[in-house]
Amino acid sequence: MADLNLNELHDTEFPLPEQMHGNVAITSLSKLYNWSRRSSMWPLLFGLACCAIEMIGTAASRFDFSRFGMEVMRATPRQSDLMIVSGTVTKKMVVPIVRLYNQMPEPKYVMAMGACASGGGPFKEGYNVVSGIDKYLPVDVYVPGCPPTPQALLHGLITLQKKIDGQSLANLDDVPWYGVGPSEPTPIPILGPDIIDPRQMDTIRRQAELAALGQPIGLRALPDVPVYKPKPKKAVAAAAVVEEVVVDEEDAARVMELRQAALARKRAYDASKS
């Protein structure tokens, strides 16, 4: 150990600012940490709908995701790292799903497999269908398709591994479980006359108050933002057409902001492509 040169360990091929010298070992550590996390990703044995059949098909010998260190499908959330939401999430089922998610130990990942889990899928309009698990849980990777073939699912798993590879121990956003205190559990939805997300209690209460005042609730007219219009030459008369519907200004502004941000991201993405 005597001849261990700390500088050598910290030496990287990249030029570094002065104040970071001596701190760089963490990148190598991150690499090791990421490698071990991504190579032993145990999925929760948990099938919801048609997509689950393809998930089992992926686990079977022909496609075999044990090659990625995922062979042990655990039936208990306590021992699993990855929740593959494989199929349609219904309102009745989202309660146990959130509960299962809360029971999973950090680090945990969620993959939305198939159109249904990503955004509602063909059954989106149904009264008992949740339009995308990301309304309740943070999703790491979306795998489109109905159903995604085993190879598409494998591609999704590899994409998830890539995401982990890009994370760094130095960034608390990447490894929030090293932050201070225990992580907040996701509030469990309640089955009332319709499903209730506890995070939306305030909105619901406000809407009910407004309804008591005789003001309409329900559909809200959002300002028309031509987010996905490729040709701006004939843009729809934008914004300002907010009708006499009760609109929570703050909320609308927030949504607007989000949409603008999404638009910017989309433009940046398009630009980077071309």
């Binding site: 010998s61 022909r62 496609f63 075999d64 090659r67 939305a112 159109a115 990503s118 955004g119 509602g120 899928g121 063909p122 059954f123 989106k124 309009e125 995308g132 990301d134 999703v139 790491d140 990777v141 979306y142 795998v143 489109p144 398709g145 109905c146 995604p148 073939t149 085993p150 190879q151 598409a152 494998l154 591609h155 999704g156 590899i158 994409t159 998830l160 995401k163 996905y228 219009k229 490729p230 040709k231 004939k234 999404a262 991201r265 989309k266 993405y269 398009d270």
Partner: protein
Amino acid sequence: MYGKGIMRGLSVTLKHFFQTYVDDLRYGWRKYSPKEDNFEMRQGMAAQGAFTVQYPDEKLAVPERFRFVPFLVVNEDDHPEAPGKDWCTSCGICAKVCPPQCIWIVRSEDPNTGRPIPEPEAFFIDIDICMNCGFCAEFCPFDAIKMDHDYELASYDRTTSHIHDKDHLSKPTSYWNRIAPTRAAEEAEARGGWEHIDVIKERKKAEKAAAKAAKK
């Protein structure tokens, strides 16, 4: 004898265990070589053991009729007359037959007369809803929408990338010819040429007119 059934079962398991290795030996080092056609054999009827497709190093080819999310056929970028022109005439049939109603089409209109132009101004498919049923491709009278084979679409974010717009959807005719040559050839034969059906019709008209003119 009690226990015989169990032993029989175990012998089958043992047989399967060895079979895989016997087959492995048979294919030997050629196993992962892309040039050999033994991949097809390993995945076909003759295979004895259990064989894994080593995705992503080797991929199980998808057949021509395979359907994943749809795409739009457009002319090549180096097409002599109309580079990059959509084959779609925005007739709206695909939007009507789509079972979960995930196709959105904005029809072009002539800015002066307000009459529709047979060309979509915008075309969206929400792939979070699409059920890959293939009806749009089946019922499109202009062979303008087809089912893609590219299934590697996983992404980190769906808000921005999961509604495919026209730019994203458009792929040149050569792409379709490449992923499904047999189907493409059949369709071309039914249309009467490799061009868009309207172009073929116009050419025929022009030819006829020319012939008439020549007669006179």
